[in-house]
Structures are given as C-alpha cells and as structure tokens.
C-alpha cells in the first residue's frame, strides 16, 4: 500500500488493547509485508491470531524483534523502558524502534542508550479505552487520533519521516514534539483526568458504603466523568510513576481549585463562584464548540 512499508516486517511487542489495535489497523490497511507479535501470554497470542491482529506470534521477544525492520513496543511504560535495554543488541542495523507509551521522557532516555546502529522514535497515540486487553482491540482505534512522536537528538530525519508515514498509514495524525514538553502537557490532558475520575469514584464509593441509594441514581454525567477510573491499573501506575512531578503538580492544582470552589459554596460567595464557573465553561466551549 505505502511505498515506505510494503516490504517491511513489523513486530509488535505487547498485544493488549493498543498493540492489538495497531496490528488490526496495519493488517486492515495492508501497510506492511508481515505483522508479527510477541506477548508473554500464550492465550493472548492465540487470540491475536484469531482476531487477525498479527500474521504470526511468539512468546520469544528477542527472536521476534531480531527478524523485524520495525519494532513497536506496546507494553506498559516501565516494561517498555526495560525492553529497550534488553532487546537493543538483538536488533538489526537500521531497525526502526518505536513505542506506544503514554509518558515519553523515561522511554526516550532509554532509547538514547541503544546501540548506535538502531534508529528510535518515541510515540504516544492520543486514543484508548477504559477496557484493557486484546479482546477490546479495534482496527479503527487510531483513526483520526493525534499521534505524538518524540524523536531523540540522534534520530535521523529519514527515520522520523518513516515513523510519521507509519502513523499516517493507520489514519492517525503525527505531531512531533519534545519528550519533556509532551510529558508536561499530557499530565494535564491525559493523566489528570484519570486521577479526577478516580477521586470522584472513590468519594462516591465512600458514601455508597453508608447509603445504597448512591449507585441507583448515577446517570450519564457520573458515568462519563468517572469512566477513566476503570482503566487498567498496571498501565496507569507505570504512567503516573514515570511522570511524577508533572502529574503530582497538576493533581495539587486541581485539588486547590476544588477547595476554592468548596469555600465559595460554603460561604455563598456567588460572585466569585459564578466568575470561576463561567470562565471555565467558556474555556471548555472554546475547545468543544
């Protein structure tokens, strides 16, 4: 299909929601010559083949990546960082190594320590679901999504161009950005929403322990605002703990805003409250007109 990849053997390591969806998208668009997969769980490999997310699959990561021209790491973030260190010596010259992790600084640092014959670009597609695992995989998951790419200082222009073309081939929009700037921004747009949903759910759950009416009256507003609290805990832990300063900072700011609203509500300070709510509504409607 795409001149860049029609001959490429691509290998996805980690066949969960994101890796499985990537395989399905690549195969649906016939982007590469072959799509292989590696995962630690044999049952997942069988499911990936049954869903036609990959052409072939193995539990042997080193063997899988050795035969690939492009390797995409799609595990939780801290496993990605570990895998980068482990597989470096197995990669062929000029292999393009990418990943799908939601934080980029730790991963780009690990990529910078790769043997010099490997080209690497960090990646973060701005899409997902609160359900984990290949059973939730969807060939259209990446369609229309912004896909951040964080090159290393040493990444060659043609390797970055190849990564951008791969992103476009699955219907996503590449956005090249520095890894530290990426992590600062997504702390507010991706990681804080998870903490907000979790704090909301935990607060309601505390009340539900005393009054069983709570879960009977939840409506679409609660469902949407709390949805991310159902996210995979292993995945989120890795994200939060590789973006500590940014995430903790934004969580404290949001807590402060809650406390300020609580004070205005308590004291009936309508003018302050109205000003804050109206200003925030305007900001929201600017993003979602």
């Amino acid at each position: 299909m795409d001149a860049h990849f029609s001959d490429a053997r691509l290998c996805i390591v980690g066949l969960g929601l994101m890796g499985g969806s990537l395989g399905m998208a690549l195969k649906a668009h016939q982007v590469c010559r072959t799509v292989s997969g590696a995962d630690s769980q044999a049952a997942v490999l069988r499911q990936a083949i049954a869903l036609e997310a990959v052409d072939e699959a193995t539990t042997d990561v080193a063997r899988a990546v050795r035969r690939a021209d492009i390797v995409v790491l799609a595990t939780p973030v801290r496993t990605i960082a570990r895998l980068i260190a482990e597989i470096g010596s197995s990669l062929q010259p000029d292999t393009l190594l990418m990943d799908l992790g939601s934080t980029k600084t730790a991963i780009v640092e690990a990529m910078a320590r790769l043997p010099s014959h490997v080209q690497a670009v960090g990646g973060h597609p701005m899409c997902g679901k609160e359900k984990a695992g290949i059973a939730a995989a969807d060939p259209d998951l990446y369609k229309g999504a912004v896909f951040c790419l964080t090159p290393l200082e040493r990444t060659r222009p043609e390797a970055l161009a190849r990564a951008e073309a791969l992103v476009r081939a699955i219907g996503a929009h590449p956005l090249v950005v520095d890894c530290q700037r990426h992590d600062a921004v997504v702390a507010a747009t991706s990681h804080l929403p998870y903490l907000m949903a979790t704090a909301l759910t935990a607060t309601a759950a505390d009340l539900a322990a005393k009054d069983d009416l709570v879960w009977q009256v939840v409506a679409s507003g609660f469902r949407d605002t709390s949805r991310l609290a159902g996210s995979d805990v292993d995945m989120m832990l890795d994200i939060l703990l590789t973006n500590q300063k940014n995430v903790a900072g934004r969580a404290r700011e949001a807590a402060q805003k809650l406390l300020e609203m609580a004070a205005a509500i308590d004291t009936g300070n309508e003018e302050i409250l109205r000003g804050f709510l109206a200003q925030t509504q305007q900001a929201w409607r600017g993003v979602y007109p």
Copy 2:
C-alpha cells in the same frame, strides 16, 4: 393513552432543555389532553411551538398555571422556589404541582408553604446534557432514566401515585426518596462530577495559557471527564447554592483524595497508590460491569 392523564391539562413552566424535552415526550406519547408552556422569553415560546414541545405557550405564568391540572416547574432551582411562592394562590384545587430541580430540600420546604388545597411532589430526573436550552431538547431524554420523587409529609398517596404514573408515561423509572437523603446522595453523584470536570478544565486551561500544545492533544478521556464543565452556569449555581453543605463536603473529600494520590506519586509509594487505584477500579467496575 394513560387513564390517569387523558383528560389532564399539563403546564410546563420553563421551556429549556428539561422542560422542552418533557413537553416533547408527553406529546410524543400523547399522555395528556393538552400541554401548555410558559417561559419568560417569547423567542423560546415560538421555538417550543415550532418543535411541537407544547400545544400553546405564553409569557404569563400565573395565567398559564391557573388553567392547569398538573403544573411542572422546570426552571433553575432558585427560580422554582420563588415560583412556588408566587403561583400558589393561582392554582386550582387539587392541582398537582411538580418540578424538575436537581436539589430538593429547598423546593420541598417551599412546597410545604403552599395553600392546603394544592398537592405537591418534588421531582428530579437523573438525566441531562451539557447543552442548555430548548434547541437541545430531545423527546427521548427521559427514556430509561431514574426519576426521583420527593413527596412532602402532607402529600396524599393518590397525588404521589399520579406523579409516579406521569414519570412512567415518559419512559422513566420513579424512585421515591426523602428530599434530604436525595440531596446528600446527588451531591456525590451529580454535583461533584460537575466540580471535578470544572477543576480539570480549569487546570488544563491554566497550562494552555502557557503552552498551546494542550488543546491539540486532548482526546476522548479528557473530553468525557471534562464534559460537564460545559453545563449551564445559572442552573449549576442554583444547584450548588441550594446544597451547600453536601456539595462542599464532597468536594473537600475529593480534593483530599487527589492530594493523597499526589503524595503517593511524588514519593513513589507504589504499594499505597496501587491499593487505592485497584480498590477504586473495582468499585467502578461494580457499577459498570
């Protein structure tokens, strides 16, 4: 259609999203003999008639309610409380007065001061949208929603039964509950989600003022978690300021949980963090299996 209402003249005061949707639902199911509407804005009345949300409409509330067997107040909460005091003397004997306000204690208190010939039941349908106004009205808005009913001590059983039948006639599920218990519970399930969405949006907006990348990378997680920040400010102010103690209390609890997560993230206390996230994920999945 329904033996309870085939002869009834129903009047909706306030033709916004909720009142307009109620009129559309009543007319779609041919529940009443006539559905009339009152609103302070002539343009809204014209739109309500064009959308077939009401058979007739007027800006004269006292005149509209005088000829009705059932009156449903569908304005913001503090206007509902004021209207109850104003229209009491205009209502016919045995008129059933209801409302759609999201807090119930202040409204039930106002209803308790009505002339003794009026029967009243507070109401709160657990549905809505972040868009306000009759342009967003939807005849299916109430379909499948839980609809809380908060009777007064003096509400007669047949009046409550009539309110329950009306709720069923538009496809919603009546749930009879004490007004104070209602307000305590919805503070966590309906009002706190709005504050969480607002705190999230405001935190991201602060960062967006410094880095324009912010709004370029927002994805479905941010959109859903922040959606309620687009809610009508007048409506929300009335809700927050008629449920002060409950809402402020839950907001402070949620802020505390955010601060605890921030501390665990900062210090890398993985065990504490994992325990809290996993427990909350389990609670969420219990509600949304």
